[in-house]
Point group: C4
Chain length 244, copies 4
């Protein structure tokens, strides 16, 4: 798969993911007549659906990271070269920021905004740590399985509600959300702590996965894959990764 | 598969899809006590479920387009003849309009209505462009996969919320929705711009897919249904990987 | 599979299905503070989830009809003997009525009730016709596929909203719902018209399926099943049916 | 699979499950502006999603019980040794309690709390019996199938609504929920009756499964994970059908 195509896939996926997160937040807040639970429910549903679709669509091309914390962990596991990892992260940040602009354009809001939404404090930092650790652990554990897309998306959906921070769990999304003064925004000064918590969570997941899924860290979940076709797909994927 | 059966499948699917979109909008608005977010949430859930069911049921027969923008793109890719494409579009328009009438009959409303719901402006046109481009890209990318039905439906569900237009993304549905003066309506004079944006979005997806999914092996050449291609798709994917 | 076990499966499944429909209606109405859309949303989610679970669990034993309209159609297609069909219908009616009693017991309401909820008129009868026709068509079209359980359940979920009657689509459930004076009830005098509309809808689906899925009415969807294991499963199921 | 790894998996899964149940309850109640149905809807969605994810992720390691009632039944079926069963239960109780603490930490609430939420009476005890019996029956019936994770989670989601107790269905979760004075709490004095009802429900399911799924071939004998049994389950099912 040519690198240009993979980087385009990361950019496009990140753009549509951020546009969904931010756009559905705008729509939901406008329609929810002040009921924040209803707005977050709609925001969650749209995010989960779009994330599952984008992973299903783009994973065969780029792996569908859309998330610097995921790219970092896969680079540390040597499943991605340094140059590729760098390009992936650039594509993710660029894509997510363009996604914020696209959402604003669709809703006829000022294209460039700065959030004033305060999101800070140890509770929320712990929440970002837990949400990202869970996300990366799920990705490392199930990414080769047939249900990977919906499983990863479902984790994010659950974490929107069970964490105090509504689970950003993604440094590129955190950055892009500082560029919108709407429902899903975060003021820029609160972003660095979120990103730090997310990176620490990702690293914690990397260590946990070493103990939980030890033998075949490269081949995905602990044991043999579900079915025959899938087994050969795994072999092919792992072969492909070794070539990289 | 005889052409008559395929055209009947397109008609029936379009009819039930439009009846679901419009009927669930009527029910939701009646029950939601003025909370538009709640009404749209119910409308979204019903649409996603019905769309996934209808694709699962009818894709083996007609390919389950239910959408002139999709038929246009597949005709441009020579996966459908001109005559068939024309009949498909007629069936879709007829089916969707009958679906509006059926919804009205079930809710004991005047069968023939004209919408007065204003939906216009560059933001909404951009939204229709994005929603339809995403829809067609998803269809071209995942239509042969096992999860195609739910993946396509999930995109529409996400786009109901993250676009400013609630994602019509379908010229036949847009036309039918001009025939209902209820929650999901659009006044007739606003339809042409929506249709134009949808067609442009579909064409943009066609070009993007050429770059993202270049090998025919991935996105197929025939109009064969999902089921029979499953195995050979696996074989093709593995062959493609070996070539890289 | 012994007949006793199959009849028990139909009874148990019908019981839990009716208890879910009626029980979740009670809970939803109690909590929804008068917002009917919110109550129906919760009622829909619970029904869809329970139906999918019960079909997944019990289809390998009894086929998971839980519905006299479905049993009637399969008997007319000679996929079920007359004696078995009769026992199935008895089990379904008994199970659904016991389910109403169970729901009342859990919510500490009078066990035996008679509904006063008026549900009548040509719009609702048409709605029951459409909902049941769609249900039976979906069952005939996808019952052999791997996603049958969720597809069937999703149709019911959509039909809860897009039909004017909230889609009973099941004579045994209609009867049981006349035995509860809560959110999901229907007064007894309105039941016969509902049942008639449901039976007519089921027969219409039987005829439509003959045209839409003609060649292999016995083997399920028009073409070959999705994958190898599934193919052999289909062969086994069809062999089993021939033995009956 | 080393016992330490299995016990860690049970601990981690129980911890994240309890944190999701309790955390999403806190978030939902805070945002729902007093509408309990909306709060329970969000609580349900988060629980179902997290449960499906955790089963998918950890079933290949520990079987993903997260529930002493499930472990008890599998021990009675000799699919788990006594020592392992004891360690599993300890891990589940410890994990769930830590999950309550984690939820409190994320929401910056006192870490240790005692619930004052009254949940008692024969209706709720019957509800716990039904919810747990259904859960265990579903687990015994579908645990080797590909959709096991979502099917089990969907049952819990339905039971949140159709039972009068909102379906705790898990002694370890019941205990942990006595440690939070928030939306999902239960006062400690009400816990023993809940646990008793849950254990009786689990035993009832064990007996029902003996009649409904009599051949060991269907419900298995080992504690082997979902994945590796998939193929052989197909073979067994076909063998069983031939025997009948």
């Amino acid at each position: 798969m040519s690198l240009a195509r993979r980087v385009l896939a990361e950019t496009l996926g990140s753009l549509l993911l951020a546009a969904t997160v931010i756009g559905s937040g705008i729509m939901a807040e406008r329609m929810a007549a002040g009921n924040a639970a209803l707005a977050l429910l709609a925001n969650t549903g749209a995010t989960v659906a779009a994330l599952a679709v984008l992973i299903t669509l783009l994973a065969p091309i780029s792996g569908a990271h859309f998330n610097p914390a995921v790219t970092l962990v896969l680079a540390l596991r040597r499943q991605l070269g340094l140059k590729e990892a760098g390009l992936y992260v650039l594509a993710q940040v660029l894509g997510c920021c363009l996604g914020a602009v696209l959402a604003h354009a669709m809703f006829e809001l000022p294209l460039l905004q700065v959030s004033t939404h305060v999101r800070t404090g140890p509770g929320q930092w712990l929440a970002e740590f837990v949400a990202t650790a869970g996300l990366v652990l799920v990705i490392l554990g199930v990414r080769r399985s047939r249900d990977a897309a919906w499983t990863v998306a479902a984790w994010i959906g659950a974490a929107y509600w069970f964490t105090a921070s509504t689970s950003f769990a993604n440094p590129a999304i955190s950055l892009a959300r500082s560029l919108t003064d709407t429902f899903t925004g975060i003021q820029p000064r609160d972003v660095p702590s979120f990103v730090l918590a997310e990176v620490l969570g990702a690293l914690a997941a990397l260590l946990t996965a070493r103990f939980l899924f030890p033998t075949d860290a490269i081949h995905g979940i602990g044991r043999a894959p579900v079915a025959t076709e899938e087994r050969s797909a795994t072999v092919q994927l792992s072969a492909e990764m070794k070539r990289q």
